[in-house]
Amino acid sequence: MSGLEQWNWYLDGWIIVAGILCAVSSALLGNFLVLRKMSMLGDAITHAILPGLAAAFFISDSRSSIPMFAGAVLAGILTALFTEWIRSFGKVDEGAAMGVVFTSLFALGLVMIVQAADHVDLDPGCVLYGAIELTPLDTILISGWEIPRVVVVLSIVLLINLLFVIFFLKELKLSSFDPALATTTGFNATLIHYALMTLVAVTAVASFETVGNILVVAMFVVPPAAAYMLTDRLVRMIVLSVILAIIAAVLGHISAITVPRWFGYQSTSTAGMMAVAAGLLFVVAALFAPRHGIVVIFVRRQILAWKILAEDIIALMYRIEERDAQQKPDAAYLREILFSSPLPTNLTLRYLTRHDQITDSDGMYELTKTGRDRARQLVRSHRLWEHYLVEHAGMSAENIHKQAEQLEHFTDRQLREKLNEDTIDTDQDPHGRPIPPENKTN
């Protein structure tokens, strides 16, 4: 059984909605944390708000949520502030400063809460670490609709974050990129910084009071980081991070219900699985992102290397033909001259044969007509480049071959014509070999 037959649109629906709201509000701000290299701040703030909660409880002597919320947010902002102070006044490395501040505040909070916990029913676990699974149980009535309180709170937070990001996009962009420039051009980078910190604290507090802290910490970092792998544009990055956050939330809840069943257990923590889902999305993005993905970069390099090898082979065969039209090289001979290893060479030869650039007669290779045309263009590029380099870069004739070798693979017809125009009219390269014409039937 998959577990999904127990799916209850009311319960599970609201859980997913709460998860999405939390994930999206966190991811929106998280983009700027990642870009500012402050990804650990979400983690720090979620730990550091503990004394704020405790202090609010001591002062108001109640468990009502407004003072608690305010206390927690204040503690969150103080975390950012103290970190900055210790960094600038104490000349301590930023990571260490953050480590000092949030662990200290957390410890302080623990001590305070123990004092309180002995007297009243203030369960730090309950206050600190809500659970997303409880979402549908605590509802309020809004114009006749019974809506979970969490969803209402998170919707407000999301709205605020969204407005903040939309209205201050260019300020955020500039101050994330270059705070000094931002200040000199009239934006107050510090103000933007603390506004961002405040919203991070608000989001963190609102989220983990209701859906658990691990989810908010993960959503601050993972979807924006994945989005950063996928694009170079800020707006696209923000949109992508939001989409990824939504996918992670939905996927997380479904897998929390289904995956444990495969192993004979019941469902597990939704927040934990949402974090794991986000992690998986990140892994996919990091590996397969179209431009920056690890696999993509690797494959791209390989393809390029093969392409170059293929071109080298036909250009070499053209030169051999040029010298002695009768000679037909075999694979070993080509390998020896090109210093290439057997496997790629043989694969490339097979590729060239299949694409009708060369013919294979018992291990001896010969250029076809298309192959010869292509090779002629390559050799032409090569020799034009040699000319250009000698004439314009002032390089001596014995130094230029290697460069031309590299350049020839990236020279199209248009560039060849320009090269031709830019060099003195000649049909010989600096080594005295003929420069083949652009189009010719031999």
């Binding site: 979400g42 001590v111 123990v114 980081a225 934990g272």
Partner: protein, 503 residues
């Protein structure tokens, strides 16, 4: 449908230090009113019991936390200087799935899942996997270290939570209390725990002592280490491995967050007290040990203070103290130095101002009355953009140093010592100005040095060259040089004009 793991979720997050520490005192304080939150002051006997380590339990706890503080201080110093302070944070979170899996595997193999070594092996493996992931993300993608840390921390921890959700449902293996194994149980530490911490910690310390110079080089100048043929990756692995070991034994003892603080706070505090690597690690070890000792002792004396948190707060207190009062890098000493520098500059400006005032009025040639020439304060105030109260303060200070005298309500004159100092300063200043002009290409990096005397910074040849330039210019009337006047004929050395005016 899923209420059981809600309960679990709470339990897994509640730091167990809190529960354990609170447990003992709950009954005793049950009678007290809600509003009474004062900490009961312990009896002398309680103090004595702790201070003299009479209680076996206290002895163990104090010993264990002290040893932990020492090893964390040492390893943390390297981690801090390698700018990896938060690595411990990510790492300790990353151990969670390993612990859960170790428990599941051990239980399904019919072993006792809560055997400490099994759990520690699981923790170490997933910690190392976490570090490897961090390094991979940082090196292979365009993301920076902070994002790599954040990703590993949250995703691994999320996976751990999800796995613990499954562990909780296992019929065999008594998963209850597993979290307390992980999230610290300082107060209930037993002798074997202290031994484990002690031996593992000492091994870490020993390794880092043996590799002290190699690790220092790694932290200071990785590129140079590579160029000298040191296996940097291997060294880095050793350092990270040490962090893993210390973190894991600490997790077990004081809990997750508190362990991070032991790795970060004592070394960061130690940095304020020294400019030497060796001294820094020693101070970090001492501070770590003191935090462990005092923190756990305090929690033993005051029954409702959780020991893990107290250890951190003691460390924090030491950090704050060090940051403010530390010498030579604390805030106060740096402010003091700045203040001294400012007063010195102000004094120099005052004396030069007086001198230039006299100079521009051609009064310097009347050598006989030079010391007693009055200078109006108001004019000085206008020469520099001082405010009158600020100038008054500066004047007062100079008077205390017997450099100037107030002859009138608002008139000053130089004393003999003041005159000599003024001449020296003006001379120095003009040499610097000349240097700036003649060596414009390189000068700026030199001039802002807080050097008293030009000869400490510049080569003698450069100075004598400048001297001759200065004399040239003054005879040409460009700058009225202090040497134009002969203050003390007896000391005049025609070869070296600098000796004039200087005693």
């Amino acid at each position: 449908m899923r209420p059981f793991f809600l309960v679990f979720l709470f339990a897994s997050f509640v730091p167990q230090t809190l529960v354990i520490a609170a447990g003992g005192s709950r009954e005793a304080q049950a009678q007290q009113s809600i509003t009474d939150r004062s900490i009961s002051i312990p009896e002398w006997s309680d103090w004595k019991r702790v201070l003299f380590l009479q209680d076996y339990n206290t002895r163990i706890v104090v010993l264990g936390t002290t040893l932990l503080g020492m090893s964390a201080g040492m390893i943390g110093s390297f981690a801090l200087l390698r700018k990896r302070a938060l690595m411990g944070d990510a790492l300790s979170h990353a151990t969670l799935p390993g612990i859960a899996i170790a428990f599941i595997v051990a239980t399904s193999l019919g072993l006792d899942g809560k055997t400490l070594p099994i759990l520690l092996v699981g923790a170490a493996l997933s910690g190392l996997l976490g570090i490897a992931t961090i390094l991979l993300v940082r090196n292979l993608t365009r993301l920076k270290e902070d994002a790599a840390l954040g990703i590993v921390l949250s995703v691994f921890f999320g996976a751990g939570i999800a796995l613990l959700g499954i562990v909780q449902q296992m019929k065999t293996g008594h998963a209850a209390g597993l979290e307390s194994f992980i999230y610290g149980k300082t107060a209930s530490m037993v002798a074997s725990d202290a031994w484990l911490i002690g031996s593992a910690g000492m091994i870490c310390v020993l390794i880092s002592v043996l590799l002290f110079k190699e690790l220092t080089l790694l932290c200071f100048d990785e590129g140079f280490a590579v160029s000298r043929g040191f296996p940097v990756v291997f060294l880095d692995m050793i350092l990270m491995g040490l962090v893993v070991i210390v973190t894991i034994i600490g997790l077990q003892a004081v809990g997750l967050i508190l362990m991070i603080s032991l790795l970060v706070i004592p070394p960061a505090a130690a940095r304020f007290w020294t400019e030497k690597m060796v001294n820094m690690t020693i101070v970090a070890i001492v501070l770590g040990a003191l935090s462990g000792m005092i923190g756990s002792a305090m929690s033993a004396v005051f029954p409702n203070l959780p020991s893990g948190a107290m250890i951190v707060l003691v460390a924090t207190a030491m950090f704050l103290f060090s940051m403010i009062f530390g010498i030579p890098r604390g805030i106060l000493i740096r402010k003091l130095r700045r203040y001294e520098l400012n007063t010195k500059i102000n004094r120099q400006h005052l004396l030069r101002g007086i001198y230039e005032y006299l100079e521009t009025r051609g009064l310097l040639n009347e050598k006989q009355t030079l010391e007693s020439l009055p200078v109006p304060v108001e004019t000085l105030n206008q020469m520099r953009s001082w405010s009158l109260p600020a100038l008054k303060k500066i004047v007062k200070r100079a008077e205390r140093e017997r450099l100037v005298e107030t002859i009138h309500e608002d008139q000053l004159q130089l004393t003999e010592a003041g005159l000599k100092e003024a001449i020296r300063l003006v001379h120095e200043h003009r040499l610097w100005e000349l240097y700036l002009i003649t060596y414009a290409d390189v000068a700026p990096s030199k001039v802002d040095q807080d050097a008293d005397a030009i000869e400490h910074v510049l080569e003698p040849e450069v100075i004598s060259e400048l001297e001759s330039l200065l004399i040239q210019q003054s005879t040409m009337g460009v700058i009225q040089s202090p040497h134009a006047i002969e203050i003390d004929q007896k000391q005049t050395n025609p070869q070296n004009p600098r000796s004039q005016g200087l005693t």
